[in-house]
């Protein structure tokens, strides 16, 4: 038996098919993964993301510590409530994990992945050496991601007036505390929506309210196809410690300026940049024929060599198969993928297929 979130019993009562995910028993779907996917794109759905790891960073040197730890720069978070996405790197420039940072009244709040929890916490501790910081894992909190074009409106109707006001006023990529809840306008689906952290004991009641109001519970299956359509990397699949952010379509999360900020991995990234950049890049693939692209299928690029699909599935929104793939840096607009011994032509695109319900390819 794996670890359970405070919402486990409710998932089972809602008919979820439970699966193991990084040591956690999580809902894969509640009947139809594709239906849940459409619900989020067209209306609103709710995911239990309580398995993710929340760490509060406080102390006089919290900012200095995070400016050393992360390739993105928390000095950009000019005021309480702002958030940024980024990666923490090892000294070789490899991605240890991706995360989101919120600036809070008492410091910062980090949300890192579930499957990487142990190594992340060890790394956070190790890097804290020499800094006046206090790290507190917040396993007393549950987290719900309510995502979709109607997510904020529907949520606002179910919470206290001050929380409703906050939900209506929060700009994108901001998060603020309201009492012992933390409400953020963030997510990982390519849609507008909220991520709400709240005391574990209040989570089943709130999820019940959301579902009662007609918000579809959605599982990891839909979460995976939504983030894939949005071109968002899944740690451990599309990136890991063997690739730099430049090779993972995350160059935009590297804050090169100011040049004197010495974040972990900086020297390695600069060496790669000076050497002409990464040898591979992460691209999107679209299969125009019938079939399904899957992780680890081989990609062949004429004249350049081979690559590999890192995430692949059927895109419910596009009605065809899409993938993320790591290919030689010079790859152009066409490639081929081997599916069960046969080669299929694929279109190579920017790895972002859908945003706010609209096709980008």
């Amino acid at each position: 038996m794996g670890q359970r979130t405070p919402l486990y019993d409710l998932h089972v009562a809602l008919g979820a098919k439970m699966v193991d995910f990084g040591g956690w028993d999580m809902p894969l779907h509640y009947g139809s993964q594709v239906e849940e996917h459409h619900q989020v794109r067209q209306d609103c759905g709710v995911f239990d993301v309580s398995h993710m790891t929340v760490v509060d960073v406080a102390g006089a040197q919290a900012e200095a510590y995070l400016r050393r730890l992360l390739a993105n720069d928390v000095a950009r978070l000019g005021e309480v409530g702002k958030a940024l996405y980024g990666v923490m790197l090892n000294v070789a420039g490899g991605v240890i994990d991706d995360l989101i940072v919120y600036r809070t009244a008492s410091g910062y709040r980090l949300v890192v992945n579930a499957a990487t929890r142990a190594k992340d916490l060890a790394w956070l501790q190790a890097q804290a050496e020499g800094f006046v910081v206090a790290l507190t894992e917040r396993d007393d909190l549950a987290m719900l991601a309510v995502q979709g074009p109607n997510a904020r409106d529907k949520c606002a109707e179910l919470v206290t007036p001050p929380r409703a006001a906050l939900i209506r006023e929060l700009p994108p990529f901001h998060g603020l505390a309201e009492g012992d809840w933390f409400i953020a306008r963030t997510g990982y689906t390519g849609e507008d929506g909220l991520e709400i952290m709240l005391p574990a004991g209040e989570a089943p009641g709130f999820l019940n309210d959301l579902v009662g109001a007609g918000i579809a519970p959605a599982g990891l299956g839909a979460r995976d196809t939504l983030r894939l359509e949005a071109g968002l990397n899944l740690y451990g699949q599309d990136m890991d410690e063997t690739v730099t952010p430049m090779a993972a379509n995350l160059a935009w999360t590297i804050a090169w300026q100011p040049a004197e900020r010495d974040f972990v991995g900086r020297a390695a990234l600069e060496a790669q940049r000076a050497g002409g950049g990464a040898e591979t890049k992460l691209v999107g693939l679209v299969l125009e024929e019938r079939g399904v692209l899957r992780a680890h299928q081989v990609v062949r690029v004429a004249g350049l060599g081979e690559g590999e699909i890192t995430s692949g599935s059927f895109s419910p929104t596009l009605g065809k198969s899409i993938a993320l793939a790591r290919v030689p840096a010079g790859t152009g607009e066409r490639a081929e993928v081997e599916i069960r011994g046969k080669w299929y032509p694929v279109r190579v695109v920017k790895p972002s297929f859908i945003r706010h319900g609209k096709a980008l390819i």
Binding site: Q33, V34, G221, G291, V292, P316, S321, R340
Partner: protein, 127 residues
């Protein structure tokens, strides 16, 4: 709870087989199988005319989640395939015993008797 019609025969690899009036055998995948697969988005069918051995791979069914091989529950020659599944693979979820995959001319009609009956197949699924 998945459905397992009593009038059909089954392979442990989750195909159902139905003997038709003309002696041919229609093959599909079971309710249990479609439920385990989740939303089916692609079906690859065998070529008409192909001679399949019992247990030989006869195609592929892919859900959003994963690809899964389908097998020939008994030996025979492929007489027809259900082309409609190419455009509407979701029929496999909606009506697993209506959404047939292919029809075989069995090499030996008695082979059908070797397959599991509904009770035995269901017992295997529940185990």
């Amino acid at each position: 709870m998945s459905k397992t019609p009593a009038e059909l025969r089954y392979a442990a690899s989750h195909e159902w087989a139905r003997l038709e009036q003309d002696g041919s055998v229609t093959v599909g995948i079971t309710d249990h199988a479609q439920e385990a697969l989740g939303d089916v988005v692609y079906v690859e069918l065998p070529e008409v005319g192909k001679a399949l051995a019992a247990g030989e791979q006869a195609g592929v069914v892919e859900s959003v989640k994963a690809a899964s091989d389908i097998y020939a529950p008994l030996a025979g020659e492929v007489l027809a395939v259900n082309e409609a599944l190419a455009d509407a693979p979701e029929q496999v979820n909606e009506d697993p015993y209506g959404a047939w995959f292919y029809r075989l001319k069995p090499a030996n009609a008695a082979d059908l008797e070797q397959l599991l009956d509904a009770a035995a197949y269901q017992a295997g699924c529940d185990a």
